[in-house]
Amino acid sequence: MPDAKPAMAPTGPALPTEEVLQRVVGRASMAFDGLKPLRGAFIRASHDHMMSTAREAATLDEVFAVLAMETSVGVWPVPVSVAEAHDRPAYGDAGQPCGCVEPGCEQVYPVQHASVDLREASRKERERFAGACLDEAIKRGPIHRTS
């Protein structure tokens, strides 16, 4: 069996503060009116405890190649500065191994992938970060609407 991965290691180089990442939001994470996301759209995945996004330079096709989602309704901004304000680093980790600690996981992040590291965040901290992301997303508006 492969050795366990080192916990909490960065999954890639830290991203610049001024970069604005792209987060695909599914219909099930939008407000009922379909016009804006819920806070829950900015929650980490359970597998690696990171929030998957695409780099700012990714085209719409690339974003959806990174974050394939059947029910997506839009792409919303996640500024690296918001993550930093909550002490959550953001990594450009395309082509890098998944940030989980599960032995044997061989997943590799796709092209243009970036992660916000929420592995050490408590529930309350995750909610606060998601709330800050939502506020910023609403202030800036969607990068793309897909339906």
Binding site: F32, S46, R123
Partner: protein, 196 residues
């Protein structure tokens, strides 16, 4: 006044009363029917997001015709309630169909126990302005904000487990977590108060 005159007057008043009061997406009153000589039932439909149809019923008695306007206002409340419940149930259907990976790499489907719990919760909270959605970690959460205070009522996993948070920032927050308790969960969603 004859029955037909009552009916005519009731229909006219009801149409005038209902049409401007109910949301714009509700078309004109579609039918007016009578039960006996004294009860009038006005039926219409509305479209709720996303694409769901809800029946709207206004019930009045001809002897209370002067109060039909109030009845119409009540009907608006009923319509909104039914719409929200309908929307909540529609979302639940969609959530139950999510599969692993639905929100990108590593995201999880919603556990069956969470869906079952929501089936119990929704009928008891559909009359309060709450929204809920699925999350990439396989949880489902009601979330709302009142001024500077944010609220989260979350369900996840087998059981399911619940997490409640009323958060005003800094050290000003209250939270609770544990096995799903229907009454405590509903009470929090309705009031935002975390039981001690």
């Amino acid at each position: 006044m004859s029955a037909s005159a009552w009916q005519q007057r009731a229909g006219a008043v009801a149409t005038l009363a209902v049409a401007p009061l109910l949301p714009a997406r509700i078309p004109a009153v579609e039918s007016i029917s009578w039960s006996g000589r004294t009860k009038v039932v006005i039926e219409s439909t509305m479209t709720s997001s996303p694409g769901q149809t809800v029946n709207v019923f206004v019930t009045g008695r001809v002897e209370y015709l002067d109060h039909l306007l109030a009845r119409a206002i009540d009907a608006r409340h009923v319509a909104e309630t039914r719409t929200r419940k309908d929307t909540m149930m529609s979302r639940l259907t969609a959530i139950a169909e999510l599969r692993d990976g639905w929100a990108g790499p590593g995201s999880e489907a919603i556990a069956r126990d969470v869906v079952t719990a929501l089936e119990q919760v929704i009928p008891r909270v559909a009359d309060v302005p709450r929204e809920y959605g699925a999350r990439a970690d396989g949880s489902v959460a009601f979330e709302w904000r009142e001024e500077r205070k944010s609220f989260t009522a979350l369900l996840e996993g087998a059981g399911p487990e619940m997490f409640l948070l009323a958060d005003e920032g800094g050290e000003d927050f209250a939270e609770a977590e544990g096995a799903f308790d229907l009454d405590a969960f509903v009470r929090f969603v309705r009031t935002g108060i975390v039981d001690a």
